[in-house]
């Protein structure tokens, strides 16, 4: 009941509408921004494990480049997180 009341109030209050839009936008932005890096890291690690299985002697080099690749891919999620912060709290 309280949620319905809040929605009814929000329908007429521009400030509440703005808050709802900001919260929704922030949540969608962060959620979408986390999907891409998750797929990227999964693919990257899968390929790295395959490379190590084919050439175990190059495991060191593969792990080094894999770590850098993971960190680069993760930067996308961090950008999404920063957008989330800026939309929600600034």
């Amino acid at each position: 009941m309280s949620a319905l009341t809040y929605l009814a109030e929000a329908a007429v209050d521009p400030k509440a509408q703005q808050n709802i839009a900001a919260a929704s936008g922030a949540g969608i932005a962060y959620g979408l921004a986390a999907i891409g890096p998750a797929l990227g890291i999964g693919y990257l690690v899968g390929q790295a494990v395959q490379a190590i299985a084919r050439q175990p002697e190059s495991a060191g080099q593969v792990q080094t480049t894999m770590f850098l690749g993971i960190a680069f891919t993760e930067a996308l999620a961090l950008i999404g997180f920063v957008v989330f912060i800026l939309l929600k709290f600034v």
């Binding site: 998750a38 850098l68 993971i70 680069f72 800026l86």
Partner: protein, 162 residues
């Protein structure tokens, strides 16, 4: 046919850990730049927020490397699992770390967010340049410095001359 995972054939310290330590050392060079830029635009609160964000980035790298090192010691599949679980775990930890301080009086969210992204990328590009140079020209890569006081396998005299 047995599906026992063999430990990864890596000599010395785990590569991911070595890279993360290297990036943590390089971040010391970034610190003065961060302090000057943040102080110029956001004052003391900006400096504190930037330093906090830099700490988050370094902890994130070290935690990722530690998880990969542990997983790599057990087996390739575990390393893959740790990489994916670690991604979710670290995103959650960064979220918590920022949420804990977002209402603090000394926090400026804009420099904190900018520092999070920029230092992450700058440290990565810097390290990538170093790693690609080391891969392209292995002779230039500095090796471990031998200790003159430890015996070597091919020499009988272990006392160094002054």
């Amino acid at each position: 046919m047995t599906d026992v995972a063999e430990p990864l054939a890596v000599d010395g310290p785990p590569p991911a850990w070595a890279v993360a330590i290297d990036m943590a050392k390089r971040s010391v060079w970034l610190l003065p730049v961060l302090v000057i830029v943040s102080a110029a635009f956001w004052g003391m609160d900006g400096v504190l927020s930037s330093v906090y964000a830099l700490g988050i980035v370094i902890c994130n790298f070290l935690l990722a490397a530690w998880l990969l090192a542990i997983g790599g010691r057990i087996g390739p599949a575990v390393m893959g699992g740790f990489a994916l679980i670690g991604f979710l775990l670290r995103l959650g930890l960064i979220f918590i770390a920022v949420m804990l301080v977002k209402d603090a009086a000394w926090v400026e969210l804009v420099p904190l967010g900018i520092t999070l992204v920029v230092t992450h990328l700058v440290l990565l590009f810097w390290e990538m340049r170093h790693v690609s140079s080391a891969l392209a020209f292995p002779g230039l890569k500095p090796g471990p410095t031998p200790n003159p006081y430890l015996p070597t396998p091919d020499s009988s005299s272990t006392t160094p001359t002054a």
